[in-house]
Amino acid sequence: MENRNFYNEILTEHNMRPEFKHELPDANIVLEGKNPNCGDDIFLKLKVEDGVITDGAFTGDGCAISSASADIMLGMIIGKTKEEALQLGELFLKMIKGEASDEEIDQLEEASALKDIAHMPARVKCAVLGWHTLKEALKDQ
C-alpha cells in the first residue's frame, strides 16, 4: 500500500531534528518567506560578514519539505560567500525544474534528496521557499 518513498531518511531527519532551526540573536539579515497557499512561513536569519555567510538559522512553521529543505540549505551555505550561496540556489532551482545534470545534482550534496520534487508540482513551492528567501535576502546586500 505504501507505494512511494518520497519522505526518505534524509528528509525526515532534517525535519524531525533540524540543526539550524533556532533563534540567531546576532543575525544581521532577517527575512520572512511565505507560501500563502499552504501556510509555510519561515524566518531566515543570516549573519553576513565581509561578503561571507558566517552563521545562519531559521524559525517558523511549515511542512516537512519546506523545513527540511531550509535546514539542508543552511548546512550548505554557512561558510560560503554570498555569490557561492546564490550559485547553489540557482543549481537547486535547476534541479527542481528537472533540468540539472547528474553532475550538477551531485554538487548539491544532501539537497539532492529533494530531486524527486521535480515530479511533484504541488510541492515545488515548499522545496524552494528557503532558497527563494535566501535569494531575496542577499539581493539587497
Binding site: R4, F6, N15
Partner: protein, 404 residues
C-alpha cells in the same frame, strides 16, 4: 431502491483512488454530462435572443432549470432564482448590490467566524466602502453558535448577518432559522452560504425565512461554472444591478437604460444555459435518490471515519464529537506532521483529500490550529474507502520518522 450509485459516475469507475475531497467539488453522474452534451448538440443557441426554434429551445431549457431550482429550494417565486457562476459570485452580487446600496457608516455586519473567505471578503469590502463595521459571531470549539452569541451579536445596530448553513471545515450545521428570526426582529437581513449544505440536506428557504441564499452547482454533482443566488423578491426588486451589459435591459438610450425585470436584471451577458440544464439534471438525480438515503449513507461513512480516527494516537478531529454534526466533513490534525505532508502521504496511498487552511483562515486561527487536513464524503463513497483512509492516517507518523 438501494443500488450502487458509483456506476452512475464515469470518473469513479475509471479512477482507482478514493476520492474524499467532495466538499471541494463533487463528481458528476453521467446524466449530468449527457444533459450538457445534449444541450450543445441539439439546443445550442443564445437563449432569450433569437426568435427561431433553436433559441426558443435553449431559452426553455434554461428557464425550466430555474423552475427546478425553485422547487429544490421551495422558493415562493421562480424569479427569485438568479443563475450565477458559483457561490462566490452570488455572495459578491449581494455585497456589491444590496450591501453598497443599504449599508451606512456605523451599521454592523455580523459574520460568523467560521465563514469561508467567500462569505467574509465581500463583507470586508462592503464595510470598507460604506463605513459599516464587521462583528464576528464566535462559535464554541465544536462549532456551536450559542443563543447568547446570537442574541448579543445581532442587535439593533446590525443590518446584515452572513452565515454558512454548514461549515466547510467543522461540518457543523448552524441554526439558520433562529439566526433569521433574531435578525428579522432587529430589522437585519440574512445572507446564507449554502455551498456545503445544499448537496447534503433539504433546504426550504421559506421555512428558514432566509433573505439571500447561495450555492454552487459543482458541489452538488452539477457542472462547474453554474451557481445560484436565491433572494426574496421584494429585496431583489429594490436592488441595483450588479453587472451591466447585454441581456439585462428593457431599453437603452445614449444616456441611460431601463433594466430588465427579475431575474434577468442580475444575469448580464450570455448565460450558462448548458450549465443550468446540467445543474437541473443533477438536482433531479439527487431527488431521485432522496435526501433521507443520502444523509443516512453519508452519516454512516462519517461515523466509521470518526470512530477509526479516534483510535489513532496523536490525531485530533476538529469540531463536534458527534458524526451527525459533521455533514460528511472530517477535518483533522496529526501532531507533528504538517497537513501538506499528511495529504502527500494519503495521496501516495491513493486517497484524495484537501489540506491547508480551507479558505477559512480566521476560523482556524481562532481554533488555534491554522492548518488541517480534510476528508469529505459523498453518498457514493464506500466503507472500503474509509477503511483505507483510516489505515493510511494510522501509518503517517511512523512514515515521517516518529518510530512506531
Amino acid at each position: 431502491m438501494k443500488r450502487d450509485y458509483r456506476e452512475d459516475f464515469p470518473l469513479l469507475m475509471q479512477n482507482e483512488t478514493a476520492y474524499l475531497d467532495n466538499a471541494a467539488t463533487a463528481q458528476r453522474p453521467a446524466c449530468v454530462l449527457e444533459r450538457e452534451k445534449a444541450f450543445y448538440e441539439t439546443e445550442n443557441a443564445n437563449p432569450m435572443r433569437g426568435f427561431y426554434p433553436l433559441s426558443l429551445a435553449a431559452t426553455e431549457s434554461y428557464e425550466e432549470a430555474r423552475k427546478t431550482v425553485r422547487d429544490f429550494l421551495n422558493a415562493a417565486h421562480t424569479e427569485e432564482i438568479i443563475f450565477t457562476r458559483n457561490t462566490t459570485e452570488s455572495l459578491n452580487l449581494v455585497a456589491y448590490s444590496y450591501g453598497l446600496a443599504n449599508l451606512k457608516p456605523g451599521d454592523e455586519i455580523a459574520v460568523s467566524i467560521m465563514e469561508h473567505h467567500s462569505n467574509l471578503l465581500p463583507w470586508q469590502m462592503a464595510a470598507r466602502m460604506t463605513g459599516a463595521k464587521l462583528h464576528f459571531l464566535e462559535c464554541e470549539q465544536d462549532g456551536t453558535l450559542t443563543e447568547e452569541t446570537l442574541t448579543k451579536g445581532i442587535h439593533e445596530g446590525t443590518k446584515l448577518v452572513a452565515a454558512a448553513q454548514v461549515s466547510n471545515v467543522l461540518g457543523c450545521q448552524n441554526p439558520i432559522e433562529e439566526i433569521c428570526r433574531r435578525a428579522h426582529e432587529v430589522g437585519a437581513v440574512v445572507v446564507v452560504d449554502a455551498a456545503q449544505s445544499a448537496p447534503h440536506m433539504p433546504i426550504d428557504v421559506q421555512k428558514l425565512d432566509a433573505d439571500f441564499l447561495a450555492f454552487s452547482g459543482h458541489k452538488l454533482l452539477g457542472p462547474m461554472g453554474i451557481g445560484v443566488l436565491y433572494g426574496k423578491r421584494e429585496l431583489l426588486d429594490a436592488m441595483p444591478p450588479f453587472l451591466t451589459g447585454g441581456e439585462m435591459i428593457e431599453s437603452v438610450t445614449r444616456e441611460g437604460a431601463v433594466f430588465a425585470e427579475l431575474p434577468h436584471k442580475f444575469e448580464a451577458g450570455t448565460v450558462n444555459a448548458a450549465g443550468a440544464a446540467g445543474l437541473a439534471a443533477a438536482i433531479e438525480y439527487i431527488q431521485g435518490i432522496g435526501f433521507p438515503e443520502i444523509m443516512e449513507k453519508e452519516e454512516a461513512l462519517t461515523r466509521q471515519a470518526m470512530e477509526g480516527i479516534a483510535k489513532i494516537p496523536h490525531v485530533k478531529i476538529l469540531g463536534s464529537e458527534r458524526p451527525e454534526n459533521h455533514t460528511g466533513i472530517v477535518a483533522f490534525t496529526v501532531e507533528g506532521v504538517h497537513p501538506h505532508d499528511v495529504s502527500e502521504i494519503l495521496s501516495s496511498d491513493g486517497i484524495d483529500v484537501r489540506a491547508g487552511h480551507h479558505c477559512a483562515q480566521p476560523l482556524l486561527a481562532y481554533l488555534g490550529d491554522n492548518v488541517a487536513t480534510r476528508a469529505s464524503f459523498m453518498f457514493y463513497n464506500t466503507p472500503e474507502e474509509v477503511e483505507k483512509l483510516v489505515d493510511s492516517i494510522a501509518s503517517i507518523r511512523r512514515r515521517m520518522g516518529y518510530g512506531e
